[in-house]
Symmetry: C2
Subunit: 206 residues, 2 copies
């Protein structure tokens, strides 16, 4: 039944920059899992990563040009730190539209997203929810920028377990948009969020 | 006069895993700056990054052992996604204690932290503030886990400009801890946060 759910975020491809970014995510997690290592080993790893960065930086367009490029068109963005297949910081979270007007995504977070021992960082939950509420507004029709966001932490959010992130637009009053969402694990709500968004958009760079 | 400000977060070293993580941060940003590149180039970059991840994963301790290790001792953590020198997701933010009881850090965020065009993602501001409020509680003495966090977005927060992140513990009532903070750019508050923390700590893994 899920085959017809509209995709609200970019799907990572198997090649191109998306594949390199997926590999970079593995490096981020592996460095954290490795911990200290031996100094000689880590110096060698640093050298290999700096060589990759040197190569990419040499061939990268100017920042201003890249900003225009990444915001071109009207489709979903590919660079944000929550869903972006081109952003190695993003888990990434993949969101789909639900028939009831809400949206939903599943994600499992590893060690880079840790706050308390074995648990997701409260600020990472805030990041995921802020973004998901924003996407829920796009899906509902009226969208804008975050004005106020209130997060309630009901229980710890586990690492290494599948989380469900949901959001929906509750109401629109003039330029104010009221939106709410949750992060759940094993059917229990871990974090809930309520946002008031303002119907305002920054111009895309050109 | 700042030489005597106590450091509240781990300082990155010039070698070891910290140097490899600093290089990984360059890779994350460079991939985003590069955008699509050519398919052949990106396939080669993905191969080089996967080789680094393969090598690190082969030699990494078991996750349970690593969790015990990273939480050993009583000092500041080195792995969190905001200040951690071992976490490539962290900008990293470096926080110092102020004589008046508050804390402060300066940070400049690049493209991986983008939300609206050219601006910091609202959820990234939430991540930075949640963490900074927590560190302010440690600095003040009574600390705990986030119960409620309210963020107000006053104006957009710029990328590529130095931001000042501050926080202070305002009061303690029983087990409830009231803490607030801001992110400013050019002397103007962009985002403010108020948190209610609960004096409770998860046991460290052992």
């Amino acid at each position: 039944m899920t085959a017809t759910q509209p995709e609200l975020t970019a799907s990572p491809g198997n090649g191109g920059v998306d594949a390199a970014v997926a590999a970079a995510r593995r490096v981020i997690a592996a460095l954290l899992h490795a911990g200290d290592g031996t100094p000689a080993e880590m110096t060698e790893i640093a050298g290999r990563l700096n060589a990759v960065a040197d190569h990419l930086e040499e061939h990268a367009p100017a920042v201003a040009d890249r900003l225009v490029d990444m915001w071109a068109g009207e489709g979903v963005t590919r660079h944000d730190p929550v869903t972006g297949p081109e952003n190695a910081i993003a888990p990434p979270l993949h969101l789909v539209g639900l028939a009831d007007g809400g949206i939903e995504g599943k994600v499992t977070l590893g060690m880079p997203y840790q706050g308390p021992p074995g648990c997701v960082h409260g600020g990472i939950s805030a990041l995921l929810l802020d973004h998901t509420l924003g996407v829920a507004n796009h899906w509902a029709g009226e969208s804008g920028m975050t004005g106020t966001l209130t997060l309630r932490y009901h229980r710890t959010t586990p690492l290494f377990e599948e989380l469900t992130v949901t959001a929906r637009q509750d109401s629109v009053e003039g330029r104010k948009i009221f939106t709410s969402g949750t992060i759940s694990a094993g059917g229990q709500v871990c974090v809930s969020a309520e946002g008031i968004f303002v119907n305002k958009h920054l111009a895309r760079p050109r």
